[in-house]
């Protein structure tokens, strides 16, 4: 099923785009599995998503841990730890 994937900050720069729509296989059911799958899509993805300890995620705009489910999700965002304020 089509999934909107968003990237922010240096993750966006490394992937080379801010958003893409992908259709991962049915066995990709968590954020962590999605990251693994995305890394195999291009060298830029591989470089951007290599170190999962530097990544945070949101599913349908809610912050979640990387083992969270993406089943039924419409939007997944991947980004570095936040640094606002």
């Amino acid at each position: 099923m089509a999934l909107d994937i968003l990237y922010f900050a240096w993750v966006r720069e490394a992937v080379g785009r801010g958003a893409e729509t992908r259709d991962p296989p049915a066995d990709v059911t968590t954020v962590a599995a999605l990251i693994d799958w995305l890394r195999r899509q291009s060298a830029a993805h591989e470089a951007a998503l290599a170190d999962v300890t530097r990544l945070r995620a949101a599913v349908d705009q809610q912050f979640v841990p990387l083992d969270a489910s993406i089943i039924g999700a419409r939007e997944v965002a991947l980004f570095p730890p936040v640094t606002g304020g």
């Binding site: 922010f8 949101a58 705009q61 730890p81 640094t83 606002g84 304020g85």
Partner: protein
């Protein structure tokens, strides 16, 4: 009265303070974060997650309003490009008494550092870099748990 804004234009603190003072509270606390002029930073770029940011700030303001029985709360976080001296963030709280206003203000700015999807990119003389999160920010946010 909760007010959350993500402007690309400069933050008008005078107008914002006048607005929150108009809520009839006895105590108004505020915090303004500015781009420091003394770090060799030429410019600061604030990236955020549209939609998710607004929701996160609104949730934060509502949490503070309930916990400290605030009469009003304002969170304004600028996004886009800024230069030293510019205001990045402005938080204000209004309550009957000062302790509630002061504590809620500190809570909001601490939590804003860790709970809202903002990323800072600094432009220096020798290039640009994404600002790394500070462990102290996580500690500051956790003290409200």
């Amino acid at each position: 009265m909760i007010r959350v804004i993500l402007p690309t234009a400069p933050i008008d603190v005078a107008a914002e303070l006048a607005h929150i003072e108009g809520a009839g509270a006895g105590a108004v606390a505020s915090f303004t974060g500015l781009v420091r002029a003394d770090d060799g930073v030429l410019a600061l770029e604030l990236e955020h997650y549209p939609g998710a940011t607004d929701a996160a700030l609104l949730r934060l303001a509502q949490t503070a309003a309930e916990r400290w029985q605030l009469i009003a709360a304002t969170i304004i976080h600028r996004v886009g490009r800024m230069v030293p001296g510019d205001r990045i963030v402005f938080v204000a709280t209004a309550a009957r008494h000062r302790a509630a206003a002061l504590d809620a203000c500190a809570f909001l700015i601490d939590r804003l550092k860790t709970d809202a999807p903002f990323w800072k990119r600094e432009e220096l003389a020798d290039g640009a870099r994404w600002v790394a999160p500070r462990a102290a920010d996580d500690d500051a946010a956790r003290r409200w748990e």
